[in-house]
């Protein structure tokens, strides 16, 4: 399958800004999906609201572009109504961790078979750069003009604690590792969560002395620490600024029975 068999060329040009990390994630996702040879017509893509949540609308398959924060809840209904469909959710830090936080933790807990790709750009990009639940402490945004006084969520650690079967985090700088993790997530039975720390040069980098996308990518590279080497920093590693590191790697890979197996839903007539 060529790139533009997978993506809808007729929907180009897309809404993403130059230098956005969404393109990198879309490329990695396409490669993972294509390498596995998964049937596109048997895969449904669900998004919430935000830049990353727009990705399903560019994929040449069934797409459900839902309300803000509720993508996992919509995907839960869709998956249980059509258990034979593979369901993939594209979401962002605000959509997943703030307004949709309840559905995120309960989705992990329920461990329904779905793949959730969260593009965490540490900011509300589509609305112009407001602080999100992953904006690092002291960083600037339009709603934190004198620096963010709050501390960020660690989405991957939340997913581990809440019970997801597979959890990995990479940045847009580690494309090979990311592609491999997306492959693992797509093959995983149960709730599989891949968080990608991604660059928003326009609304995050520009206000934080990193207006060039390559500056953000360099920052990701310098800050990334493999999880197996980062365990001692567990208290601090949630905070990109204070700890100076982004913990990356596979956080968990386990095989709890998925929800639809537990309730015995096979198919719908």
């Amino acid at each position: 399958m060529e790139l533009f068999d997978f993506y809808r060329k007729d929907r180009w040009p897309h809404v993403f800004c130059p230098g956005c990390g969404n393109g990198t994630v879309m490329n990695c996702f396409y490669r993972a999906f294509n390498d596995l040879g998964l049937p596109l017509d048997r895969t449904a893509f669900v998004g919430g609201i935000g830049c990353s949540s727009r990705i399903p609308l560019y994929i040449n398959s069934d797409a459900l572009h839902t309300t803000h924060g509720r993508a996992i809840a919509f995907a839960t209904g869709l998956k249980l109504a059509s258990p034979e469909l593979k369901v993939v959710v594209f979401t962002g830090d605000g959509d997943l961790g703030a307004i949709g936080g309840n559905h995120f933790i309960n989705g992990c807990r329920r461990n329904l078979d779905m793949t959730v790709i969260c593009i965490n750009n540490n900011i509300y990009g589509m609305t112009g750069g407001q602080a999100s639940i992953t904006t690092p402490h002291d960083f600037l945004s339009t709603t934190t003009p004198s620096g963010n006084k709050e501390y960020p969520f660690d989405l991957a650690e939340i997913a581990v604690a809440a019970g997801a079967n597979y959890v990995a985090r990479w940045t847009t700088r580690q494309v090979h590792e990311l592609t491999k993790s997306i492959k693992t997530a797509l093959q995983k039975k149960g709730f599989a969560f891949v968080e990608i720390v991604s660059q928003c040069p326009i609304n995050f980098g520009r206000r934080n002395k990193m207006p060039d996308p390559t500056q953000l990518l360099d920052w990701f590279k310098e800050s990334s620490v493999r999880r197996d080497k980062a365990r001692t920093a567990a208290v601090d590693h949630v905070d990109l600024n204070l700890a100076g590191q982004i913990t990356v790697g596979e956080f968990v890979d386990r095989n709890r029975e998925s929800y639809e197996e537990l309730i015995g839903v096979v198919k719908h007539g």
Binding site: T66, A73, G77, A81, I263, K267, G269
Partner: protein, 376 residues
Amino acid sequence: MRARPGEYFLQGNEACVEGAIVAGVRFFAGYPITPSTEIAEGLARRLTGTDEVFLQMEDEIACISAVIGASWGGVKSMTATSGPGFSLMQEAIGYAAMSETPVVIVNVMRGGPSTGQPTRASQGDVMQTKWGSHGDYQVIAFAPASVQEMFDLTVEAFNYAEKYRVPAFLLSDAEVGHMRGPLTIPDKIRIVNRKEKGIKRSDEAYDISDELVHPFPVFGKGHKTMITGMTHAEDSRIEPEDPKIHQELVKRLSQKVLMNRKDINKWEVMCPGSKTMVVSYGAASLGAMEVASQDDRIGLLRLKTIWPFPEEPVAEIASHCDRMLVCEMNLGQLYGDIKRVALEAGCRKVELLSKIGGDPPTPSEVRHKLHEMGAI
């Protein structure tokens, strides 16, 4: 498995469960809330097949979202709630209207605002049902007044949700939901199935033109369906900046319901031709029903469909009577529309008997009000 045809003695909420199963519900998502919980409990016991799902979600927003998601999986799906949960669902109800997703939402109304009276009946959500989400859209809502109607109108809510691709509501209340009474399940029940894209069959859903209600593209069938709550063109292209596309879409969403009022509106008349007519619905009509059955000077127009507003039956009844009394268990929500239509149709006086606090208006309260009006 659906209940066998026959005679039963059930609670209103239990009759709703039986109605949903007969209508073909395959997916229910709920969250515990008084006084609707028996519906979730009943469906938890009943939806146990390998092609049926009962799901308890983390909140009501998740419930309605999952129900909409399930509908795109191609199954009949519903949720049940009451006031506070209903308020939480509003954004997604607007999404269902915009994305034209058939879903059934049962609201067993209790006294509000806020936590209000969890165990007491109310009709306080009548206007919220119509206007609860932002933007212009139309919905279909039924108001049952008996255990039998909890069954019958649940089936109808599914039928009309599927036929018109809209969110359809069963607006019950703590009184009707918790009353116990006889239920007859007939041998033959009219069931309308979804007009699915790519499938043509002789079905009631097909008597509406494809231009007004587009055939439903189920996920996973190769349709490459794109569903969004944003303003979209006919081919699902997102066009939030195009005024013409927005106008066409939003007007069609309203017109497919409003233009088919004759098909959707259901009502019952007692003593037609009386000079004084009571207009009521749901539990609020119970007292007036008794009055009208005992006093031939008093008639009753009992609305079973309250949205889309039944203009024609109200106007018809109003044109043949001198005065009207509207009975509601709120501070007058449907009263405004009824008064407008009735006065336009030539009725001289339209008054309101409004009762809140949890009890339906009693027959003596209805008589007292009618006496004040000079009707008896």
